[in-house]
């Protein structure tokens, strides 16, 4: 009984578990037991096989074919087919419960074919808890190369040559930062990995820390060697307990293998890493605030300069990079800066991981070369808009980013083009919105987020954002005046110009970008007291358009307070005295006859 399959990876993420409550591991164990393959085929728990839209998924290795687990029944039988002949799975008759090989191979469908995996290359292929598997996939080879064949200056040169820019949001050239940190002869120095991924809608750092923690560690070690540091910290937000656990395991294994600690690989280089769990403050993603938080203080940003490369953690030179940035480092050293530079665009090299969410068909993590246009990301990889709605806007960069429109879809996604268009790369959250989203409401949502998360240190952010929020709320309930739009814009510009740290400066971006591209929606709110997307409840008249009404009666059925009366072949009639404006009818009406 020889099987061409040596391992089966299964996804243990929340997304898959919530899609179908099937205990895939137990099923696989039972199946392999019954088939007598238990000792021959290994099971690998992975965090994500990036096919969240069709989970729970399993992947056969070698080969990497992904299959969907549809049901528990007859699983063992189908599994027999898969592991004995993985290239030609036998299809049970239609309608039967089965594992459906509906994806022939990763390379054949757009969602995977358009991606280029550098950072996510090990995702699903290795067991994140096994350092041996990481080593077998060229793990720690870059560290070995750096320590034995390169000078620290040589490492920095290679990183500079690669053109790598920080993946946390600002896009600062990493090589330049490392060079700065090396320059100062104050010791000890520190390396910090920023794993405080706070943007709503972004989860690539969590996925990386959970599925390939050693790559992050290796990047940090190389950085430590380059700048002359002996201690690293990973700051992980408290909301990511599994990431913390995976990193703890990885650090422990690396120490035991001699990759961390004293005299690493016999080269005399000492380096160690500790994990620092955050405590729930969005502002701690800002580098100086993060360092105060590690010091055990309130996480409030300070004035720069001095830059942290000169005076960072405990006043020492500190090099802080994002999780994804560090995960790129081993590949750059292994294949060379010139190779990395050949991917992507002139000013934005390499790949970027985006977390694609919102109103698209395929949601999940997407790694593409920098400069891939937004249309490819949303329509080819994302599969377009869900349902029969239309594309309206794409929000990039979380609460610090902005909304772009159809006219921007041709834009290559690079740091500078997105910034110029009024959005930003940010950490890579891509939230797609269809025509059921109201842009004023979206601006309000992000402003509310920034109000809640403002640290309170400086007035423009603490007070100014509240004023901004108040103006938006006034518009949303229908008390806005045309002059409010100019005032809104002025207020937003002031906050951006006078706030103390990057978060405050970027917080008005959602307002500014929606004002810029969706001013007509704001105009409709303040002049006609109308919300075109039918989101802002106070601006909806709750009237039935007798012409558009197809007399189906669905609205009358869903109304919780019986405010809609309907008789066959007659348009529905809405009694506004009874109506409680819950919008159940608007959601139910397929003909948009109620507004």
């Amino acid at each position: 009984m020889i099987s061409p399959v040596s391992k089966i990876a299964y996804c243990a993420s929340r997304t898959c578990r919530f899609r179908k409550p099937i205990d895939v591991r137990a099923l696989l164990e039972k199946g392999l037991d019954e088939l007598g393959y238990r000792d021959r085929i290994g099971l690998v728990e992975t965090e994500c096989l990036i096919s969240c839209f069709q989970g729970p998924s399993i992947m056969l290795l070698p080969g990497g074919k992904v299959f969907q687990v549809l049901s528990e029944e007859r699983f063992t039988e189908t599994l027999r087919g898969l592991i004995s002949e993985p290239q030609l799975p036998t299809l049970p008759p239609p309608g039967e419960p089965r594992i459906e090989p509906d994806i022939p191979g990763i390379e054949h469908i757009d969602f995977f074919a358009k991606q280029r995996l550098i950072v996510l290359r090990n995702r699903g292929h290795i067991d994140a808890e096994s350092i041996e598997e990481y080593i077998a996939h060229d793990g720690y080879l870059a560290l070995y190369k750096a320590l034995t064949a390169m000078t620290p200056e040589g490492v920095i040169e290679e990183v500079k040559l690669s053109g790598l820019r920080g993946r946390g949001g600002a896009g600062f050239p990493s090589g330049t930062k490392w060079e700065e940190a090396r320059k100062y002869a104050t010791f000890p120095k520190y390396v910090i990995c920023n794993g405080d991924e706070g943007d709503p809608g972004a989860f690539m750092d969590r996925s990386l820390m959970e599925s390939d923690p050693h790559a992050v560690l290796e990047g940090m070690m190389v950085c430590g060697y380059a700048i002359g540091a002996r201690q690293g910290y990973i700051y992980v937000r408290a909301e990511y307990p599994l990431a913390i656990q995976m990193l703890r395991t990885a650090i422990d294994r690396a120490r035991r293998k001699g990759f961390l600690g004293r005299n690493i690989l016999g080269t005399g280089f000492d380096f160690d890493i500790d994990i620092y769990p955050g405590a729930g403050a969005f502002v701690c993603g800002e580098s100086t605030a993060l360092m105060f938080s590690i010091e055990g203080k309130r996480g409030m940003p300070r004035i720069k300069p001095p830059r942290s490369t000169e005076s960072g953690l405990w006043g020492r030179p500190t090099c802080l990079n994002n999780v994804e940035t560090f995960a790129n480092i081993p590949q750059i050293l292994l294949h060379g800066g010139a190779w990395f530079r050949s991917i992507g665009m002139e000013d934005s090299t390499g790949t970027k991981v985006f977390s694609l969410t919102g109103a698209v068909k395929n949601v999940g993590l997407v790694e593409v070369p920098m400069g891939t246009d937004l249309r490819t990301i949303i329509f080819e990889i994302g599969g377009g808009i869900r349902g029969n709605a239309h594309f309206k806007a794409v929000q990039l960069g979380g609460p610090s980013g902005g909304c772009l429109t159809e006219q921007h879809l041709h834009l290559p996604a690079t740091f500078d083009t997105l910034q110029a268009a009024g959005a930003m790369m940010g950490s890579g959250g891509v939230v797609v919105m269809d025509d059921t989203s109201c842009m004023v409401d979206v601006a309000r949502f992000f402003t509310q987020f920034s109000v809640d998360e403002s640290c309170g240190k400086c007035v423009p952010c603490r007070v100014g954002l509240k004023v901004l929020l108040g103006m938006l709320e006034k518009i949303i309930v229908g008390r806005g005046e045309p002059s409010d739009l100019d005032r809104l814009e002025r207020q937003a510009v002031h906050i951006a110009a006078t706030s103390h740290c990057g978060l405050g400066q970027a917080a008005p971006n959602p307002v500014l970008s929606t004002l810029r591209y969706f001013r007509h929606e704001y105009e409709a709110h303040v002049r006609e007291k109308r919300c075109p997307a039918l989101v802002c409840t106070d601006l909806i008249r709750f009237e039935v358009d007798a012409e558009a009404c197809k007399r189906c009666g669905v609205c009358a059925k869903v109304c919780p307070v019986e405010a809609i009366s309907w008789r066959k072949k007659e348009p529905a009639v809405l009694n506004r005295d009874k109506c409680i404006r819950c919008k159940a009818c608007i959601r139910a009406c397929k003909f948009k006859a109620i507004h």
Partner: protein, 164 residues
Amino acid sequence: MKSGSSDVLKEFSAEQVEKLDGIIARYRGKPGGLIPVLEEAQMVLDYLPVPVQKRIADGLNLPLAQVYGVVTFYSFFTMKPRGRHTLRVCLGTACYVRGGKSIAENIVKEYKVGEGETTPDRRFTYETVRCLGACGLAPVIVVNENVHGRVKTQKLKSVLDEYQ
């Protein structure tokens, strides 16, 4: 400090207090130890009232103001005990008119808990919300992550009995 521990920390068991002291001792003298101490302490004690903060401040040789400042800054820390389950009643208009109000009144009376408070047996932390967008299911209550729709006052107890 030792003598005062029995009365200021009386809501915690001797074992919990001992664990707290153990945590403080492990981080004493380490730079930047405050937040890990608070995180571990909250795991043992569930919440961090001022007497606990005082004990941590004394143990780590920090001003109480700094400890209090950190506890109130980060959303992860709480100074009030939370229940084992979070119970949210929707008082959005649809739920309100379809009996949400009487459910809310019923909870206050039956479980002896005010809004934003926790029952004495720490079973529920009770909150009200304005609208969950599930008006078609009105009235709605949400326990932890589970949405229960069309809840009637008579059925309320049987729904909540699932959560002990």
